[in-house]
């Protein structure tokens, strides 16, 4: 609830309990003087400024005498019920005694009436009722405020929880979209139909063991893509195995045009990496260095471990990238996905960079924490 919705005075009345106390205190006590004017002064036909003045004076006295009660209740608020009740009772009795005495003495001096002390019991009884009401009303308001506060807190918590849930849903949507994109990327229709065509060729020319091998490679690759959730991690060894399945299929398709080189030291193999993270990099290399080059080329995957960081380089012999363009323009949607996924896993604690090699070709470097 925005505070600025109300006028500052209304707002203070709404929010500030001190202001609320004093407004109710003054309205209550001078309401009492109005009631006593109407019921006593008019009924008994008590004319004269003294009588009317006295109703105002006794209200003013009431304001002052009841004031310390607030501190008393504050003091005992969190104590046991028995202390609170007895302190309240003592307060009521004390205040009514003082108020009665002061009321009678001011009444006698202001109106000149005598022998009022004889009626002390009646005056005390009235006082006692007034202060009982005051205390009851005080607690009523106080508990109402507490209830209100609690209600607001609950509402705020509920809305916080809702915002939290919304955020979580958004994050899940982003992750799911990434997964869908990955799947669509994996099962690239061009790759799939060309591979099936190559298998068909092997069957046709009766090279059945090669055809069989290629069917297994394709199945393994598809299974890995479908089984592995992109929000999970796998060991680098598993990831390299999957990429190898893919590259072996491409080697069968492209023949001598595709040369492969791997250098994955043993100490890197058990390090966890996001699953399917290398796939788009390798697919890019195929697209630019092999499929677009009549003479074909080489794709090398080189890993190294240094100072708690794993570096994986995917190096190709293609035309490289135009440095005037960013990653996205020069390599398409694939690397932007990779960048987004790495950010989800490692925040800013990773590196994804593209460099043209001096001798020609592109090096895509992936650097991530090794633990």
């Amino acid at each position: 609830m925005a505070d600025s919705v109300y006028h500052p005075i209304l707002n203070a009345l709404y929010r500030n309990t001190n202001v609320q106390f004093w407004v109710l205190q003054l309205v209550g006590w001078f309401g009492l003087s109005l009631v006593s004017f109407l019921s006593l002064n008019l009924w008994y036909n008590q004319q004269g400024g003294g009588y009317i003045g006295h109703t105002l004076v006794q209200s003013a006295l009431g304001v002052l005498i009841s004031w310390p009660l607030r501190s008393l209740f504050h003091y005992f608020w969190n104590d046991k019920l028995i202390f609170r009740v007895s302190s309240a009772l003592a307060g009521i009795i004390g205040c009514s005694l003082i108020w009665s005495i002061l009321r009678i003495s001011t009444f006698m001096s202001m109106t000149g009436e005598k022998d009022v002390w004889a009626d002390f019991g009646g005056w005390l009884f009235g006082s006692f009722l007034v202060f009982l009401c005051w205390v009851a009303f005080y607690h009523l308001v106080k508990y109402y405020q507490l209830l209100q506060n609690k209600h607001e807190t609950i509402l705020r918590m509920a809305s916080d929880a809702q915002i939290e849930q919304l955020k979580r849903l958004q994050a899940e949507t982003v992750a799911r979209e990434a997964q869908l994109k990955m799947l669509r990327y994996q099962i690239n229709p061009h790759f799939l139909f060309n591979t099936l065509n190559a298998i068909s060729a092997l069957v046709r020319v009766q090279e059945s063991s090669k055809a069989h091998e290629m069917i297994l490679q394709l199945s393994n690759f598809l299974r890995y893509s479908l089984d592995n959730d992109p929000i999970h991690k796998v060991s680098l060894r598993q990831e390299i195995e999957a990429v190898t399945q893919y590259l072996n299929i491409e080697r069968t398709r492209f023949g001598r045009r595709l040369q492969l080189e791997f250098d994955i030291p043993f100490d890197c193999q058990s390090i966890d990496v996001p699953s399917l993270i290398l796939q788009p990099l390798v697919e890019n290399a195929i697209k630019y260095a092999i499929a677009s080059e009549e003479a074909g080329g080489t794709i090398a995957i080189v890993a190294s471990l240094k100072q708690d960081y794993l570096t994986v380089d995917v190096i190709d012999s293609g035309p490289g990238i135009d440095k005037n363009y960013g990653i996205v323009e020069s390599t398409g949607i694939g690397l932007r996905n990779t960048d987004e996924r790495l950010r989800q896993f490692y925040n800013d604690d990773y590196e994804l960079r593209l460099d043209n090699k001096l001798e020609g070709g592109l090096r895509v470097r992936l650097r991530i924490p090794s633990n």
Binding site: P189, H190, L192, F193, N194, L196, N197, A198, I199, S200, A201, L202, R204, V205, T252, R253, F254, G255, R257, A291, S292, E293, E294
Partner: protein, 268 residues
Amino acid sequence: MQKLRTIIVDDEPLALRLLRAVLNEIANVEIIAECNNGKQAVEATTKLQPELIFLDIQMPGMNGFDVIKSLQTDIMPMVVFVTAYDQFAVDAFDLHAVDYVLKPLDSERIARSIERAVDRLKNDVDHSFKSPLIGAIEEISERASQDKFSNVTDNNLPDGMKRKLLVRDSGVVKVIPFDDIDWVDAAGDYMCVHAVGETHVIRSTLRDLLSKLDSNLFVRIHRSTIVNMERVVSVTPLQMGGSLLHLTQGESLKVSRNYRDAIKKFFK
């Protein structure tokens, strides 16, 4: 029965083997060349002048569409495109009645393509095969570029610009000086302008373009082909009276018997 002289083109060795195996089982097909890339396909087609070509679209260097664009209209064989997956292309092919087969190859589908080619060879006396091909290719590249540029005409250009040709390539308008043009061929409503190793497709007629070009430089060598004579480096005579012109960019163009005299004039 006369066999269809056929060239097959694919950059993947296995795909080429499958195509060969399937076609070998069809009686009226004779494979006269196998090519691994677009450049070889253009050379083989110019040299051997086949009746039919099976042309893979996705290839390194020159892709299937580049091959079509750089082949002379007058020697354009019938074409069956081969593609793994390209919904855009397939729609455009259907629209322009261009034949295609999908990978993995289906031998029945290929047999139907052959029947269709035999029919066309018999009935289509014009043999104007390039026009629908260019129509389909243009449509594909327009959809791919997606940019909707308004049609550029050169009517209201300043004088300095009139010695140049405006072409639209993938949504970008390029200016080509007439002197840069190597050769031009017409394919139906389209003209393929070959300049400095690139081919640009424009909507125009041969007559319209000829009227703008310098007639001392540009000569008609075939029904649908104009060549910039300054680009000719050598001539090979062919049997039957025709000849081949070899250009600086490495292309070879066929000169028809009917236009022989126009060429002779230049070499006197």
